[in-house]
């Protein structure tokens, strides 16, 4: 196994006081370290006992203080190392290519780093997209595997945004550049992950203020013991005072805090999500309502033909024939699925080979598509639009349609001229794991609202099947903004997913807006997170992650503060072992004061590396309501934080005593 010593070197470099001062707790620890080295060297001048056992003790203190700062630094450099690995791999993706800039009628080749916003660039087949932009002419398949990991090329048309350093695999397109050098998507991502632009979240700032305040109190208190002891005529050993100080100031959380912040951003990056700020991730943990699209998030997204219902009197094979004809040239997913189902239902498609008519494409006005063969018009579409078109109603069609809708399916009515032929059942399949996720959200008191353009009945069916309590049917994209507003008015924190330009206002209004990488530039600008994998259901993972980050920070702080109780009850009696009347405070019954103090410091030091994995991974928690979680965490980290160090210090003490350390 290759051991990477780089984090160790960085950790050692970070001993520099000017770097450490960002972390007041560790800064105080380092000052204490320097002081104790000084005291050891000049111990004679300060009247400190210099018998061998005391020299051992002093040395142990110095080593442990050094380790405390070192462990804190190593936690930080380890998580920095992780983020550095991520940025390095991102930097490798960034391609420098030659761009073909179109200026009027001429094409000029310039290096990609000289491109500016607004330039029009031609990209040919198998060329890298030189910079972020928007397609203004042409269409083609783009391989975005370098960024998303998705190896299947994505079809992009006019208006879609493309990312620099992805590859056009077919055709050629003209794009308008939308980012200046240094501000591209990849640049932003690198900057974000690397901690150069990492700013502290308001919560981290608040926690830092709190910890600094506590550190100041403990500094003063430790100093006051000096005068108390002096007053009582007790000769206090300065080393013991230093140990008390270090044990009291919140070193545990202080040491892990920088690492926690970086780990948060790293974890988000591992999900292939770019958060524009650490704040957005914390906000995610606080979400009360998530607004999800039905299609693509709760369901797989492709409506597939699953059944045929010819009207009575029409032969099934004849119906299949018309179905096939209507969709043979339809390239939509529904059309393709109809053709597939016809084939698998035993329709011999060979004999239609030469048959061709004029294809009538789907438009949003007509809401149907079909084919015109000679004077026969075969149309398929929603029942309402077909009925309007041919001016007829049919009770069989209506009955079947209602039944299909109630199952969440889509009924596609087929007609020939002005005669109803039957119904094709299309259905969208609910993602298999979505129910479980929605349940988890519910346990955390998070309300899920499903938005769908489908009708009420379909929406209700899907909502029931996936366990969602609230849904909004017949939604137009602009309605989403209203939904967000409505929830915001109730003082709730809202998260939503979007990809269209229509979604941009809602994404901006929501507390957490997750845009799909495949979405428009407007959506990506409005959102505060971007998902590179284009999986809207990931919003729920982000929420879980955000919560975990906050819980980790809160629990470790509580744990760290609660630890002080035990340390007090070990060090104070040991410090004043010369006063037998204070013996009743010595609830641990330690008889060797120096050993007891060392045990407390050993616990204080080694709890840091013990908690590093937890800090980097995040604490485990069960999805449940706030009150339930509070109860559990108070018991675990509050009460546990008081009892655990007593046990550990006890074990360390008796182990040390057992191996024959007698100070």
């Amino acid at each position: 196994m290759k051991i990477n010593i780089e984090p160790v070197i960085i950790a050692l470099k970070n001993f520099r006081p000017d770097r450490l001062i960002r972390n007041p707790v560790m800064f105080v620890t380092e000052i204490a370290l320097i002081m104790s080295i000084y005291l050891l060297i000049f111990s004679g001048q300060y009247g400190l006992p210099v018998s061998p056992r005391y020299i051992y003790f002093y040395t142990a203190v110095i080593i442990l203080l050094f380790l405390t700062v070192f462990f804190s630094n190593i936690a930080e450099s380890l998580s920095e190392g992780k983020s550095k690995a991520i940025t390095d791999s991102l930097k490798k993706i960034r391609q420098k290519t030659i761009a073909h800039v179109i200026e009027g009628s001429t094409i000029r080749d310039v290096p990609s780093e000289e491109l500016r916003t607004g330039m029009i660039v031609l990209v040919n087949k198998n060329e890298f997209v030189p910079n972020d932009g928007e397609i203004i002419e042409g269409s083609g398949y783009f391989n975005e595997s370098s960024i998303t990991g998705e190896s299947k090329p994505m079809m992009k048309v006019v208006g879609d945004s493309v990312t620099g350093s992805t590859v056009l695999t077919t055709d050629s397109v003209k794009i308008r550049i939308t980012a200046d050098p240094g501000e591209t998507f990849l640049d932003k991502m690198i900057a974000l992950v690397g901690n150069s632009v990492r700013e502290k979240t308001p919560n981290e700032i608040a926690l830092n203020v709190m910890l600094s305040g506590l550190t100041l109190i403990f500094l003063i208190i430790t100093a006051s013991i000096f005068s108390l002891a002096d007053f009582l005529g007790i000769n206090l050993n300065l080393f013991i005072l230093i140990v008390l100080l270090i044990c009291l100031i919140p070193t545990t959380i202080g040491a892990l805090l920088p690492a926690l912040g970086i780990a948060a951003i790293n974890k988000v990056s591992q999900f292939n999500i770019i958060a524009k700020s650490g704040r957005a991730v914390e906000n995610a943990g606080d979400i009360d309502t998530i607004i999800l699209d039905k299609t693509g998030t709760i369901t797989i997204g492709d409506r597939q033909a699953i059944n045929f219902y010819p009207v009575p009197g029409i032969d099934r094979s004849e119906f299949l024939r018309y179905c096939y004809l209507s969709s043979a040239e339809d390239v939509t997913k529904e059309g393709i699925s109809i053709v597939k189902l016809c084939e698998s239902s035993g329709l011999d498609t060979e004999k239609f080979g030469g048959l061709s008519g004029e294809f009538i494409p789907f438009t949003s006005d007509t809401k149907y598509s079909g084919v015109k063969i000679d004077d026969v018009v075969i149309l398929k579409g929603a029942m309402k639009s077909i009925s309007e078109k041919i001016g007829r109603n049919d009770s069989f069609i209506e009955g079947i349609s209602a039944e299909i809708s109630s199952k969440g399916g889509t009924a596609m009515t087929l007609c020939k001229n002005d005669q109803f032929l039957g119904v094709i059942e299309l259905n969208d399949v609910i993602k298999p794991w979505i129910r479980e996720r929605i349940e988890t959200m519910k346990n955390m008191n998070i309300k899920t609202i499903m938005c769908t353009g489908d009708n009420e009945i379909t929406a209700q069916y899907i909502a029931r099947e996936s366990g969602i309590e609230e849904f909004v049917a017949n939604v137009k994209p602009e309605d989403k903004f209203r939904e967000v507003e409505k929830e915001k008015d109730k003082q709730r924190m809202v998260a939503m997913v979007g990809d269209g330009t229509n979604d941009a206002p809602a994404l901006a209004r929501a507390d957490v807006g997750l845009a799909m990488n495949s979405g428009t530039q407007a959506a990506k600008d409005a959102a505060n997170m971007i998902d590179l994998d284009n999986d809207p259901a990931k919003l729920m993972d982000v929420i879980f992650l955000g919560k975990q980050i906050l819980i980790t920070r809160g629990s470790l702080t509580t744990f760290s503060l609660a630890n002080d109780v035990a340390k007090y009850f070990v060090i104070i009696p040991a410090m004043f072992y010369l006063i037998p009347q204070l013996g009743f405070v010595n609830i641990m019954g330690f008889t060797d004061p120096l050993l007891a103090i060392t045990s407390a410091l050993i616990f204080n030091t080694f709890i840091i590396p013990a908690l590093i994995p937890m800090a980097l991974k995040g604490v485990k928690f069960k999805a449940s309501g706030a009150d339930e979680l509070l109860k559990r965490n108070i018991i675990l980290y509050g009460a546990g934080g008081i009892i655990f160090p007593f046990i550990c210090i006890g074990i360390i003490y008796f182990l040390l005593a057992g191996v024959g350390v007698t100070w």
């Binding site: 308001p202 919560n203 608040a206 926690l207 203020v209 709190m210 305040g213 506590l214 100041l216 109190i217 003063i220 208190i221 430790t222 100093a223 006051s224 013991i225 005068s227 108390l228 002891a229 002096d230 007053f231 009582l232 005529g233 009291l248 906000n283 943990g285 606080d286 009360d288 008191n445 003082q491 709730r492 924190m493 919560k547 975990q548 980050i549 906050l550 819980i551 920070r553 809160g554 629990s555 702080t557 509580t558 503060l561 007090y568 104070i572 004043f576 006063i579 037998p580 009347q581 204070l582 009743f584 405070v585 928690f621 706030a626 009150d627 979680l629 509070l630 109860k631 108070i634 509050g638």
Partner: protein
Amino acid sequence: MISGGSSTNFWLNFFVNNRLFSGTVIILIYLIVISIFGFIIADHIKKIYLGQRTILTGFSEKAIYFIEKISGVDENESHTFKGYFFSLLFFNLMAGVFTLFFLLIQTNYFPLPGQRGFSFSLAINTISSFLTNTNLQNYSSPQRLSYYELTIVIIGLMFLSAGTGFAASMAFIRGIIKDDGKLGNFFHDFLVAIFELILPLSLLATVIFLFIGIPETTSSFLYIHPFFSKSVIGIPIGPVASLEGIKNIGTNGGGFYGANAGYPFENPNWISNIVEVVSFTIIPMGSIFALGRVLESRNFGRMVFGVIMSLFMLSAFFTFFGEYAGLPTMSNLGLFYTGNFLGKEIALGISQTSIFASGATMTSTGATNSALNAFTPAGILGVLFPMLLNDPLGGVGTGILNIFTYVIFTIFLVALMVGKLPELFSLKISSKEIKYSTYSLITHPLLIVVPLGITLLIPALMSSFVSPRPDQITELLYEFSSAAANNGSAMGGFQVNQAFFNILEAGIMLTGRFLVMGFQLMIAQSFAFKKPKVTYGRSVNVGSFWFGFMLFFTMILLGLLSFFPVLALGPLLAWGKDFNLLIGVIH
């Protein structure tokens, strides 16, 4: 012993013979009674906080209108933190300067026969003390002040400090419930507090005290001729009842007599004892109940009440059990020993003394009906610890400010622990609020520990102490805690009227009052732009048991963590000494 026989006598015997039980019952009765009165007044206080009309508005309106007219205050002029706090400081400073010079000139240039003039440092200390609602007295009242001076300086400042405290809490509440970014008008709030709450209640209390038999007169001495002696003894009397009224209602403390409510003319019997305890807890307790109603979250109000009550019980029973157990030294010597009665009024007994003492430090009253110096180390710990937490129940108004700083601190920890962003009634708690709440929470221990550390190192100052060494630490800790918490309870045991202590304490009291109040009003200011919605609990339920549990332990932990070493070497060491029967090891 009362002989048994009939069933009534059985219970009488039972209570007399089981003093631990009957004492516990008495303390519980006190706690229930003060809760009931707090509950009754809560509606009135709620209306004042919300600016609604109360039964007294008809009268107070006219008085306030008149005063505002002649002083040129426009009540509709609402200020932000800057304006509000500046008015508050300016008003207090003016009052302080005026009373300071008045006191110095009166006592030094126009002394009554036999009256000793106030030194500059004592005057500074006295004025700071009464201005900050602390009411530590480094002088003995009846001998040093004429009634004229007493009325203007002492009673005047007692009203002023109580009114200022309540006005600050009105501004704080306004910052929470409104969203216009303004805290209100200090002078108007002050007048409302005086005319609608403090003045009527102190008049009522004074009348009740008169009926109980507390003197109220303009003559200065009551001359008595003891039958066993030819000499005449002059007992100072004067406007005791009126002072007693505002002293308790305004959670001021201090007293007409040096011995405070331990003196029969200030506290003649158990009825006056319970009335006094009720009168100094009524506004703080009522404010806590009003809090839940004002914020439309009864659960929150109940939770705060629960936490405060738990602390109150902890303090009262710690004191009671400590005093009841007394000094093991005495029992070990084989003496018949019924608890530590030293320095206590026999008519009131240990339980009524304990509840009075602990109530006085739970609120910022600091009055006493016993000699605290004679308490056992355990007993004094029970009285001391509320002051280490900066008087959880608080003074008039300041109780709410103090509890909120703890609530904000706790909510931050709790919210993170459940993965939520911290907020209180959907008011986002940003780093700014945490900053000011941390500042105000650390100011308090620093104001105690730093002077303590310095004083201990100056042998000249410690020479006036008479008790053994660990007790000296307790006494000093008690003195500075009382000053920093603006409590005014005094344990004594040393010569406090020294320039060093006078000036140092004045500094502690002024900082502990105005700096902390400034931090707390800064919190209100940053809430002032946000409007609370309590109808929907999206975050941690601040009314829940577990939140209250966490709040309770955060308070205890902060107090314990900050003061454990000092407590260990002070009261705990003294306690240990008693048990070990080893005296003089440390001397």
